[in-house]
């Protein structure tokens, strides 16, 4: 066992590590309330969690990538699944879970009557995949925002 790995060595109270030869990053954990706000905000609007953590460029890139992907999915006549309360144990529920991950854009699209899906369209399958992956990616983005808020990632 390395000496630094020994339990007798006290943990460094201020997480501080070097990510580049010339750059030292001090991680700043947020309060539990702020962490919750970041996660909920990120679930509602893609990239909002990063925006609240003042990661402007990451937030802009994430928002534009995911909203663009969502719009392309709708444009390719993909289908947005609506939760069927009478048949919760089905693949449709999993599809709904993936679709709803994008947050407010999902509800706006459903309210506007978009995302009904046209299975006879040549691009239906690709649109369907775009819409599924966009929602799932947003869950990943929320986890990333959570890590930043917890001080695990710069």
């Amino acid at each position: 066992m390395l000496k630094d790995d020994s339990p007798s060595v006290p943990a460094d109270p201020t997480p501080n590590f070097t990510v580049d030869a010339r750059e030292s990053v001090v991680l700043s954990p947020q309060s539990p309330f702020m962490t919750a706000v970041v996660c909920i905000g990120g679930l509602l609007v893609p990239g909002l969690g990063h925006l609240l953590l003042k990661r402007w460029i990451r937030a802009a890139l994430l928002f534009s990538s995911m909203v663009l992907m969502f719009l392309i999915g709708l444009g390719m006549q993909g289908k947005l699944q609506i939760l069927d309360a009478g048949q919760l144990i089905s693949f449709n529920t999993l599809q709904w879970f993936a679709n709803v991950g994008i947050g407010i854009p999902y509800f706006v699209a459903v309210q506007m009557g978009s995302g009904t899906g046209v299975p006879t369209s040549q691009t239906f399958d690709y649109g369907w995949a775009y819409l599924l992956v966009t929602g799932l990616l947003n869950y990943l983005v929320v986890l990333d925002a959570y890590d930043i808020a917890q001080g695990r990632k710069p």
Partner: protein, 58 residues
Amino acid sequence: MKLSHFEALTIFAALVAVVFAITTKSTPRAQVRYGVFVFFSFLLVAIVVGWIMYPFPF
């Protein structure tokens, strides 16, 4: 919206690569390198799998 199969694949790879790079790497340099790697990996795997499936009629 009418996109060809390859156009849809390329746009998908680019957008997913951006998200993967941001969520998995910490520094801008590492993010760019990983994003480029993911993008070209998506394209390469899709083309290779497409050719593997080509001889099969089902």
